[in-house]
């Protein structure tokens, strides 16, 4: 039988994959993909807790996470296009203008 534990471990694994992506990638578009992976992992955890505790709040939070992800992608891709028009690259090392 599949327990809540299994779903939470799966969600943790997916979140770790996304986190490795965020730490490792230098391309802005790839960073966006990695954040999507992390958001999906959180959604799985919310839906699983909602199912196993027989409570609808988890699904509600998952809906709002999806809404936040959609608006983040809209604004982020707009910024990405402006950056690409100005600099011709999406590499974070080249985009860093503040040498700190």
């Amino acid at each position: 039988m599949i327990e809540l534990n299994d779903y939470l471990i799966l969600s943790g694994l997916l979140f770790a994959i996304g986190l490795v992506g965020v730490l490792r990638r230098k391309n802005l578009l790839m960073l966006f993909f990695a954040t999507e992976v992390m958001l999906n992992a959180a959604n799985i955890a919310f839906a699983a807790t909602s199912h196993y505790y027989n409570d609808l709040s988890g699904q509600m939070f998952a809906f709002f996470i999806i809404a936040v992800a959609a608006s983040e992608v809209a604004v982020g891709l707009g910024l990405l296009i402006v950056l690409y028009k100005r600099y011709g690259t999406l590499d974070l090392d080249n985009l860093a203008s503040m040498k700190g």
């Binding site: 939470l8 986190l19 490792r24 578009l29 959604n43 839906a47 609808l56 959609a70 028009k85």
Partner: protein, 188 residues
């Protein structure tokens, strides 16, 4: 039995696809595997009885967000491999592994607690979309409206940022030539 088979199959496939997303050098492979992984995640939602959430995942994530990414990728050269200069891969993998271990511990720690009470319990005999609608439009009405305003703001921001000629105020002087080139192309 079937649930276990489906769970492990979906888990292996999702983890593999997301690993491809994170580790590949090609943007096109990355986006395709991300879309496929999201379809499989909606399978998890259907297994968990969250039908409406699964449908929303399919429509919003796979339909809208991936289409948005695909449109944005028309601006870039997607056939070329992404060149990235990683200073120390071993260190990043070490820290990533440590954080992964910490996350697994964090996620499995509260399972010991049994005190969690259902605030909005699911009622028998009512389908999932109906109960979601009832809770969403009574208890979560104000967050719902705020999310609607947030999406409107995001839409306006996306249009203004990505619009071709609307971005003149955002650019500096050395971009004026680019804008002139674009407008000359339009006149042709």
């Amino acid at each position: 039995m079937y649930e276990q088979i489906a769970f492990y199959l979906f888990s292996v496939l999702t983890i593999g696809l997301f690993l491809v997303t994170v580790l590949t050098k090609n943007v096109l492979y990355s986006m395709t595997s991300l879309a496929a992984g999201m379809v499989l995640i909606s399978g998890f939602f259907f297994m968990l009885g969250a039908d409406f959430l699964g449908v929303v995942q399919l429509i919003v994530y796979v339909g809208a967000i991936m289409a948005l990414y695909a449109f944005a990728m028309m601006f870039f050269d997607v056939t070329r491999d992404v060149k990235e200069k990683n200073t120390s891969g071993a260190l990043v993998f070490l820290f990533g592994g440590l954080v992964a271990l910490m996350l697994v511990i964090i996620f499995s720690a509260p399972l010991v607690g049994e005190k969690i009470q259902a605030v909005y319990p699911m009622i028998d005999g009512i389908t999932n979309p109906q109960s979601v609608g009832m809770v969403l439009f009574t208890k979560y009405l104000i967050p719902f409206e705020v999310a609607a305003v947030m999406l409107l703001v995001a839409m306006i921001a996306g249009i203004i940022l990505a619009g071709k000629k609307m971005d003149q105020s955002l650019t500096t002087d050395d971009d004026i030539k680019v804008i002139e080139d674009i407008s000359q192309e339009d006149e042709k």
